[in-house]
Structures are given as C-alpha cells and as structure tokens.
Symmetry: D2
Subunit: 337 residues, 4 copies
C-alpha cells in the first residue's frame, strides 16, 4: 500500500499516520519530495480499511500494491491446481466438457440427454434441480426429486453430476447426490453460501457474477478456500454490458487474465455467455482457443419445450457437431478433449 499525501499535508499529519501504521505492526518507508510526501507501507495490511485511512488528515489517495487475494493467487502457488473427478482432471491437458439441460424436467429427458452427450464425448452431466429464476412465477425446479433422477442417470451412464446449490441449508441434501457443487452467477457474493460450500470437500464450480470483476471472482474463490476447500473451478459465463443483441457479453479476455493471476482451473459457459444457440459453437471454439480448461454447455432434447433456457440450448445433434469442431481447435492449441 502506498499513501500519497496532499501537497499541503503537515509534518504532524505524516507522523500521525506513521504512528497508526506502526501500531498495526507495519513498517513504513517515507519519501519526501518537493511537493508531496509518499508513504510506502510494508507488511500484510489486508485487514485495514483503506477507505477509513483515506479520511486521516493530510491523505490524498491510497494505492494498493498487493493483490487482495492470497490462496487463489499464482504468487502463492505457481503451479496449476488440478481437480480430478471420475478420471477427468480440470486444469490438466484435457479440456473437460460438461453438458446437459438447464433444468431437470423428467427421467426421460435426462436419460436421453445423458446418453447422447456422452456419446458425443461429454465428461460430466449438468442439470438444475433448484433453479434461481428472476420471476417467482417461473418453474423453480424439481427439488430433491430432480437430484434423484440425476443420480439414477449417473448410475446408468457413469457421467458425474454438476448441479446448483442455492442456500447454505441445502448443503447436506445436495452433497448426497452431486459430484460438483455449482454456485450460480447471482450467488457469487452470497458469503453465507460460499462459507458453507467451503466446509465441504466437493469441487465447487464458481460462476462469475454477471456484474462482478475478475478480482471479485477471485475474492469469492478466496472465501471458499479460506474455509479449507481448495477445489474451486472458476467459470466465466458472460458479463452484463450495454450490448443487448446477446444475453450477456462473453469476457474472453478473462481466460488469459485468470491464467496469469491464479492457479485455479477456468471453464467457460458459452450458453449463458451468448443466450442464443446459434452463437454457442463459435463461442465454444473461441474459449478453447483462448485457453479454457473446460466448457459447460446447455443441451436439451427438445429446446422448444424446455422449462427454461430453451433459446440457448443445443439439440444433441448440434452438440455432437460442436464437439467435432471443438476437438480440432483443442488440438491446434496443444490440448485434447
């Protein structure tokens, strides 16, 4: 942290700050220019409220030097984290593919989808039993019955399950059935929920808030990790911008940025990031070309009858075509699917 004093700051004000920092066991390094004094603060000051410090007499601005995350940081752990699951590892050479419908609707729908996405090469099955919907009048998911359907389909197909958790009190129930716990975009800063999944030992698929910065995504990963669970898979799923032709804007830059900042695996959700099935293939190829460790794609046997997200769901046949092309791109960047 660097504290830039005002031009007219007085010596007493500088001394007061130094005293306060030393009280917190921080060392300082003073640089007195002709115009301003600049105070470099040495040591871990992540617990200090910078806003408050700004209000101390004579302070102009405060500039952070350290990144606010630690466990999630590549400085802290240079080598990539690998999260293994049923023989597939997030964060390794292979691009891991998760596919399935937005909502679990019936055994038939799930079984048909699972068989077909598996045949096309998918590694995990996605499906929501508890659905966060903007409207209280929309379908809210099948609940535990949906989880049971997924578990039955797993037994049959061998595909492991990714499903969303919406509240801390669902942890026990969902852990009984799911292999990967998904935190949805609207819950990325639901800290009670982050703390709860951080106390489990299940891998967590943490979706970026549609309104959250990359740094905030990493801070939310830090919440989970600081509770002991280091198996966090980050997911870029599109951010909200002024552009309205697509449902969201896929922040493809986030993939290489996250690769620089963190050792955690990064997957992309091209379905939500575009909102239109015709764009999903191009977005998937772009994601893999940019270095994503995986994809999570919505597939439904009959999108026109889907209970949710029909507009962005692929039919199984289209998904199979996508897989062929994604594999070629993966090979071009030195990976496999």
């Amino acid at each position: 942290m660097i504290i830039i004093m005002k031009m007219q700051a007085k010596t007493g004000q500088v001394d007061a700050i130094i005293k306060r920092l030393e009280k917190e066991n921080l060392k300082v390094n003073i640089s007195r220019g002709d115009e301003r004094t600049i105070i470099g603060v040495i040591g871990d000051h992540r617990g200090i409220d910078k806003g408050a410090l700004t209000r101390t007499g004579g302070v102009d601005r405060i500039v952070p030097v350290l990144r606010p995350f630690k466990l999630a940081s590549r400085d802290f752990q240079p080598e990539d984290t690998k999260i293994s699951l049923n023989g597939h590892a997030f964060g390794g050479d292979k691009v891991v593919i998760m596919a399935g419908p937005c909502s679990v609707e019936s055994m038939d729908q799930m079984m048909e989808t699972a068989v077909q996405v598996k045949e096309a090469g998918a590694h995990l099955l996605r499906g929501g039993a508890f659905k966060p919907r903007t409207s209280p009048y929309s379908f809210q998911g099948m609940g535990e019955e949906g989880l049971k359907i997924m578990a039955d389909v797993r037994k049959e197909t061998g595909l492991h399950i990714v499903t969303e958790i919406m509240a801390p009190d669902q942890v026990d129930l969902i852990c009984k059935y799911a292999d990967v716990l998904q935190i949805g975009t609207r819950n990325m800063q639901n800290y009670a929920l982050l703390n709860a999944v951080g106390k489990t030992d299940k891998p967590v698929l943490l979706k970026r808030g549609m309104m959250s910065t990359i740094e905030e995504l990493l801070m939310s990963a830090e919440y989970i990790m600081s509770n002991g669970n280091h198996k966090v898979i980050l997911c870029e799923r599109g951010i909200r911008t002024f552009e309205k032709y697509t449902r969201n804007t896929l922040d493809i830059n986030a993939v290489p940025v996250l690769k620089e900042l963190t050792h955690l695996p990064i997957v992309v959700d091209p379905s939500h990031a575009t909102g239109k099935w015709t764009l999903v293939k191009a977005a998937s190829k772009a994601a893999v070309a940019a270095g994503a460790d995986g994809l999570i794609i919505e597939v439904h046997p009959n999108p026109a009858e889907a209970y949710s997200d029909g507009e962005q769901s692929l039919k199984p046949k289209r998904f199979a075509e996508l897989m062929v092309e994604v594999k070629r791109v993966a090979q071009a960047v030195g990976r496999s699917v």
Copy 2:
C-alpha cells in the same frame, strides 16, 4: 405477448403455435400481413418460457406486452403503499431519514452516533452486525453482540433499527432485534433469502443490485410479496458503470421511473451511490428533489477509524448541515422531513 413469425414461416407452423397456446388456455389473435404473420397472445402467460417458445419452428421473435411483475405493479394497486413504523411512514408526505454507521463497532460508537443523528432529525438508526465484505480477511461484523448494542441504543433513544440480514437461517435471530430487515445489494437475487424474509411481517428494505435493472428489482420485490409480506421499501443505491471516479453511479432516473411502475416506497442511499463523503450532500438533495421517500446515510463519529466505509461516512456535524439543506429541498417539492 406478441409472436412475430419469420417471413418464410409456413401455415402449419403457425397452427402448431396456436395449438400449443390454446393448450395453456391462452387465446390468440392472428394478423396475417403480406410478409409475416403476427400472433397476439391474450391472457396471463407469465409462466411460459419465452426462450423455449422462440425455438418453435417459424418463430422470429417474441415481444412481451405485460410487465412481468404483478403485486408490485401500480396497475395492480394504483395508490401508494404506506409503511408505518414508530410514527413515521415510508411512502407518505414525509421524507424518512435513516442514518448511522456502516458497521456496529461498540456501544460508545453507536450511542454517540444515535444521539447526534436523532438531534439532527433522523428517524431511524442504521448499523450492520453481519457484514458482507468482498474479502474474507476484512471485518465481518460483531454478530449478535452488535444486534444487542443496537437494541440497547433503541431503548435509550427511541430510534428504530434497520440492519442487514445475509442468510435465511438468520431470520429468527435478526427479527428478535431489528425493526426493518435490510437485503444488501449482493443479495438482491438471493431467492432463498427473499423467500425467507417474505414469510416474516417485518418491513424489508430491498437494495437494488449494483448491476440489476429496475425491472429485476421489482421482480425481487415480487418474490418477497408473493410470500405474503407486502411491506417492501425499495432502495436505489447506485449502479455499476464504466465511470470510476465515483464508487457507483446514482441512477437518479430510477426514482421517477419506480414512481410510475410501482406503488412501493423508494428510498435512496447517497453514501454507497457516491462512495465519497464530499458528494453525499449533493446526492441527497437531488434524491429528494427527484421524489425519493427517504434517505439512508452513513454517519460515523470518527470516519478515519471506521472498520468499514470510512471514505463515504459523514461526521455527525456534516450530517446535521446536510439535514438543514435537505429540509429546504423537501419543502420546495411539497414535502417535509
């Protein structure tokens, strides 16, 4: 809902859609132009997934006509909702003022603040005992001890209490102490939490998500109301934009827009909406001039030592000056404070 068919849509495709809608007990109204057929859908179709319908053969686009909220809508209830509390009514002639620190830090801090904001004319005391912080390493609030402090201060000063609730399982605890339950910006779409506070009979201060639309804010109010609790106070607290000089951008337009769309009271949080104490007075006056029913303002006896939000907190003396000016603006628009 209006369904615009593609230019090349076939008669059979139009018929298939009509059949499907009639199965849902919706009436249709067909307009066959030279180029396209347009299907008007009559009846309440809020439960249908428009995305899925878009995938039906021959459909080009779907245009909603009805607003997706009902209980919160002014169409449903033309007259303003008034929420009374300790002799003050949100949504009436009076502009209701809530003031206090971001975090409860100690009895001394709360008592000193409460006495001074009351003297300046505030009607309720704000203060956080459970704090949603971006970093797991920041101060997370005093918890129940903080709630007890607030209750003691209420007994002494008579000021009722607004405090934040972060998880469904905190409902019983917080309802024991608080007069108004605050839902923070990061939890605006935490549906488990909305359902939980919707089952209480406490007024709920629902903060707009920092990147949520006005319509989404009303849909979240609808969640609470559809659970039986109609005492929802909406709060505009600034949205996230590309402008970085301020912490957020106060969407002042939201005040008259919400007055058109809903009967619920609307308050403004000028502290978070600006992020800098020097801007809070101007933002407060603008909010009242635009028609806000109340203000929630951060005040701290010593912002330079605050555990959180020091940069945007007013000292009690500044708050008193603000109140004098806000009162004048309130009178100019036919209201009192």
Copy 3:
C-alpha cells in the same frame, strides 16, 4: 507519477529508469523497501507515454499522481469561470435555462416554441440545423436554412441561440448565426472539431460522450482551451449503462464531482438523460438540487409530429409547469432562475 518496480527487479533496471527520466528533465525520489523499490517522479511528465514506460524492464505498475488536465482544473484556477451571454451568466448565481426543439423544422414551429419558452422563463433557444442521426435515412436537418430561421426568431424574441456543429468546415457558417456552439455527445472526442471551435471566440457547450468518463470530458475541454478558447460549458446528458428502461442514465454524481475538479460551468440535459418526457421534470429538479448551473430541455409544440426526439420533448405547457417547480428548488439551494 509513481513507478512501482517488480519484486524481482534488479538494481540495473532501476538505474536505467532513473537515467531515462533524468533525460526528460524529471527528478526522482527513490524508496527502497524490503520487497520492492518505488520511484517517485517529480515534475510535469504529462507528455510521457505511461504505457511504454510500463514495458521497461523491471516495472510492475505506474500510478499517476497529477491529474492529466491543467487549464480546466480547479487547482489551476480556483474561482468559478463565468460565461456571460446576453445578460445571463453561466457559472453564476442564476441557473440558466436553454429550451427548444431537437430539430429546426419550420419558422412557425420555432417562433411558436420561442415565444412560449421565453414566456415561461427560458433564457436561450436551442434547435438543431445539422443533425447527427444514427441512420442515414433519418431527417438530417434543414442546414443553413434552419440557421436563418433561428436568427430571425432571435431578432423577434431576443433569445440567443445554441446550435450544434458537426464538422470543422462548418465553423464559419455556424458562427455567422449561433451564439453558443454545441458539440454533441458523439463528437466529444472528435479532436479536429474540438481544435476548430477552440480557435473561435464563441462559448462552446460541450456534451459529455455517452461513453466517456468525467476525466475524458475534462480532457476534451482541455483540447478546446489549449487552442485559446476558455469559454467552455460542460454538459452532463446521461451515460450508457445496462439499464434499458430509460434512454440513458443521468449521472447526477457528475455535477458535484465536476464542481470539485473544475472551475467551468456545468449544465444538465434532462431530456436526453432520460429519453422520456414523463421523467424530465424530476430529472430537472434533481439537477438543480445537485448544483447544476443550467438546464437544456427539449420543447416542441407538437411532439407527436416532431421530426426527431418526439418521445422526450415537452409541450410548452408542461415546460411552463416544470419552470415553476424548478424555480422553487433553485431557491431552496440558494439560487435563482
């Protein structure tokens, strides 16, 4: 400027930077911490490309200390700039009101509007003869004929004229007729145009780009001023955000922020900032309450037949009502209209 070196930066790299800065006649101030070296740069380095410097070996990040604008800065000129025109001064005690249609359409339309807005208390007449339209198929303005109409109306009513200039080669023509030159939102960073109006002696109404930060707005003012013309009136007219209920989001915070940063007068355009006539009154009152020095409002005798911006134009009668309420708010904040 503060240069933060990487943890692993070598002494030779620090020396190389110091040498380079000294070559540019800048003094440096070195602070060697345990972990990093920090270089404070003293002197005016606005001409150095910070991006390039970032690429010098060993540099981690560069933090600006000086603001990039000078002539527009309140540090440079603490007292408010007043721009007088026909007995009215932008930047003084009075709130200056500009009103009129989006486009000049006919003599009758302009005369009728001018007479009525003058009667309601407006000080200047706005109207566009050259129109920047998103579509090449939309009405592009009457051109010089429109300017002549405005000049005739000025003769009759005494109202001075604000009109838009779209290209450097229009300067001579428009200066022949206009009293204030308006730079539209899409041209805020049209530097050839800024340089051209900077060489005239007419007041310039500089609209904030819908996608521009407050700092960029001041940099564009700086372009005009660095050409010799210091008569710049800044205009907040709404920014583009994710919210789509309104045409733009009025950044009301920008008013007090600009009052802190610059001595130039600030006006608000509540018509474009909302895009809906029903919201214009509330936005106007908010602007004046927040400290705006003026308003520019679209008024049309028959909005339903307007060639442009009909949706956000007020009828003269509504404008007169607005003026009554705006006057009250102005008085409440110690100003007059």
Copy 4:
C-alpha cells in the same frame, strides 16, 4: 413496425394513427384483442420518427420489426462481400493479418517493423500518422511526413498500408498515400467523416465505437455504403465495461453475431481489445476460432520507447510466435493465414 395501443385507447385514436400511416403510403393490419388493439405497419417506414409516433394519443409502445440497416444487411445481400487488396481478400478463406506500430515515429522504426512482420506472414502494414489522443499534450502524430514514410516502406516491402483518417478535410491527402482508410473508435459516429470516406473508392476499416452497439456499428457502415462505397471492413476492438483489469472487453460474441447480420468482412483488434501485450496472443487465437476474417495487431521494435500504446504492442519476435499459433487455429477452423 408494430404499434401496441394502450388498454384504454379509443377508436378515434386508432383511426388517427391509421390515417397518418396511410398518408406516408404505409399499409396497416389491425388486430383488435379484448384488451388492446395492435397495429401492424407494412412497408418501409425507416424514415418515420418512432419517438414522435409514440406521443400520438393512445399509443403504448412501438416495436420495430425490420432492422434499421439495409445495404449492410445479409437479407439484402446473402453472399459474403470480398474486398481484394494486393492479392489478399478480406472476407474470403484467408485470414488477413495487418500489423505495425500504433504511431509512425521514424523511417527506421517503420522499415524494421515492416520487414519483420512481413517475414512473419503479415499481409498489410498498419501505422498512424494522425493520432487521436485523449490529451492535447500527448504526441499527435507526424502528419504527412508519416504518410510519406509509410509510402516509402510500401515501395520497399510491397506491404499495403492501413492508416487512420480523423477529419473530412484529410480525405485527399490520405487517399494519396493509403490503401485502406481507418475510422477510429472515437469517430465511429462522426457522420461528416463517414460521408466523406463514403465518397472515395478506398476500402474503409470501420472500428466499432468502444461503447457502441453492434447495430450502431452497422448503421455507421450503412452511412458509408449509402454514399456509394460498399468496401467496408468492420472491426471489433473491444468495448467499455465495468471490468478494469483490461483496457477494454473483447466482445467475441460480436464476430458470429455480425456474421449472421451482415455480409461485410469482420476483423478483430486484439491489441486495443485487451490493452496488455501478454493477452494479445490468446485474444488473437480466440478471434480466429470464432470466425474473424482478419486481425490488426500492434507491433513495435521497442515497445518501451514507443510514443503511444507501448503497453499493448508486441515485439516482432513475439508477433512471429503468435503467427505460428494463429495459423494452427486457422487451419483447425478450415481457413488459412
């Protein structure tokens, strides 16, 4: 266009609208539901101001059906436009690569860059002689001298030239030297400039405004095309969002969206879209994987001494590495470089 009347609209109001539309030679198609009347408008109504029509008595909302662009639309021309230049065609099977420095700084700098990017496989040379800079105190470009340098380098290397035009009165000068005219992001809606380049026969590289929608980009192309010049190359160069880690957010979705909407070629600028040289390679590969027809990349022999954009410029060696990887991705999606 579909006009949705208010619930309480009267028959006379509907009749008035029909009359007005018929006056404009538009046919109507009335659908009277139980609750509302809906008027479908048939014919080309692009010249009508929808905002004004909204103000006609009884109207609730207007929904456009036609897209506002015509010449740029794929409906108007289904097959891809190919723009040939020196043996390379934008919009064909080959991915066209433009590379070079942000600013022309000297003959040595340009020659060294040109020779190296050509060797690595680039097809055109980029370089700015007239620079739109946020600050009037930054380097503004070498002007005509810069153009001459580029022309000399072309003679030597055979690489054709892309350079920016900033004002209508530069058309003759720049056309004397340049092969492709670039319109910068800040000038995307500088209509005087669009009209001017539309009257030349040079290919135009039209950069998307950093906060312009895809539809607005196509409307700006339409301006150029409606002046007779159909050789427009669209360029996605990143948009402005709340994310601040990168300079801009590459809207990768825009590539497949534009491929659906228009027949014009689309290139991507990964340098501005990221703002950091370490991210340029990943963004380039993503762009090609998503279907881009070309790339425009900043390369500088010594970024640490660049007059502008040093932070995002690649050294020639890094550019050569990028080319190797981009070629592989191009092949994977059935194209060549």
